[in-house]
Symmetry: C2
Amino acid sequence: MATQHPVLALDIGGTKLAVAVVTADGRTHGAITEPTDKHRGPDAVIAHLFDMGHRSIAVAGLGTPAAVGISCGGPLDATAGILTGPLHLPGWIDVPIVAMASEAFGAPAVVENDATAAVLGEHRFGAAQGADIALYLTLSTGVGGGSVIDGRLHRGAAGNGGEFGHVMVRPGGRRCECGRSGCLEAYASGTNIAVRANELLAASERDSTLRAEPLVRAEHVSAAAAAGDDLALEVWDETMALLGQAVTDLVNVFEPNVVVLGGGVTRSGTLLLDPVRDIVAATAMRPAAERALITLAGLGDEVCVVGAGALALDLALASDLKGAARV
Amino acid sequence: MATQHPVLALDIGGTKLAVAVVTADGRTHGAITEPTDKHRGPDAVIAHLFDMGHRSIAVAGLGTPAAVGISCGGPLDATAGILTGPLHLPGWIDVPIVAMASEAFGAPAVVENDATAAVLGEHRFGAAQGADIALYLTLSTGVGGGSVIDGRLHRGAAGNGGEFGHVMVRPGGRRCECGRSGCLEAYASGTNIAVRANELLAASERDSTLRAEPLVRAEHVSAAAAAGDDLALEVWDETMALLGQAVTDLVNVFEPNVVVLGGGVTRSGTLLLDPVRDIVAATAMRPAAERALITLAGLGDEVCVVGAGALALDLALASDLKGAARV
């Protein structure tokens, strides 16, 4: 087979848009990241996204992309190619993103839940290469998940490939956006780590370096915890205990080879990885715990773009094969 | 292809041995169930099991089985064909059951975790026929699980296909055999339903029809709950709340088409099914909840034997194909 043509990858996040040309080796070219001006509505944001795509193609200088891969938070309908109503993009109702991208770039397009795209990226090019069973847990604005089962991308019957953020960790605990109380996301998303720290600051007069921040974010909490701040440590340790508990559940029920932790919160590195590993090693079922490697995303902040690229590479390959079969 | 030859299925339970000849339509013939005399040790029990197998073959009158399928609780090593140390059979260390059965019946043999066999049985012949993604949860002496993902049996990296009994339902709660505290199994196994009822009886002077039982078992608790006994209802309702919570977690993370509930505890029927369905419908993520049918095992008490038969049918077919390829 000839070397595969490059593809275009578009990642639609709630705070930023990320775009790149991706080659068959999983590398990005002409990568661009710009803010998502959500208040301008879907038409303006999509026009901006597609403009970024055209600029990325020009900068990469690798020719017309063979396909376009799009990753976006759910809920979305991957089969129909429609963003049905992403939670992080209020007002984006039934946006036919695949048809729009296909027309804009003159190439076939595909969309998937961002965590589904991410696990594909990590499995193809990152920390989960060669794993039969790989789970990806993203700790970001929200908490999402994706899985590769027996070497194949698992989409789930509802197309979201696993809502790992909605494992119960504290029954009757904090209210979660999904309607239950006590889900992992209600504690371990970047948003909720910050909210919990702010609540603790407001509820007491305790001394904390966090009081110097005008707006406490999750990265301030992890940095202050790393520096030994008591209040930050209290929030961080509780977060790690609950994250470790949820990852233990996932290890018990899936028996994976690899669990990849990604998303902004994991920029804290070993401060996050070590306690989660310790909890899984101590509390998961013996055979499952021994098989499961817990690790950080190998693709870092590019995981969703590379994942969207992997989707597009697969689509381009399938289109090529179909074309070849027709000849 | 000619009609497939029948196979022999052997299920090694902690309290009973179940044996049958299984035909390609999933039906059992010459089925025999006899107690497991655990105190006699592995050699005597296996001699008994194989004797049952020979009797079943004679009664069925369908000729020599083309393969032997064995289901047993874990841990076991399915690839090596060895029972490494089943929790329900103390002292059975590294029993080479596949080699022993193969020699005894002059046919190839295969062994799997009983819940893994059961989900295959339900997927092929029971309540999960045609489902892309099917989960099986057995509520029996312990709580086990198995899954079919994208139409294929999922064994997990550790070969136990998912330990659904070890989803956390009440952090810091009852001690579980696995070492954690608060797993589903610590509440919802038949054993633990009975233990919890006995504890509640011992801790108070409350009136209860259960006091008439010399030894309270799970089926007494469900029967008394169905009849409106307050104490039994307290145990049963708590069990259903925790079971519903765990099934909600599984629905969220797998996004299955079907969740099949089987094992002795599910003989309580709608008393168990209705509350679990209600909790999943009310609390699982919307798209996942809408896709997932929660149902009782279609194969009832025969699920493990039919599952072991399905394993053997697959093995016989693979052996035939290999034979045909050689010709």
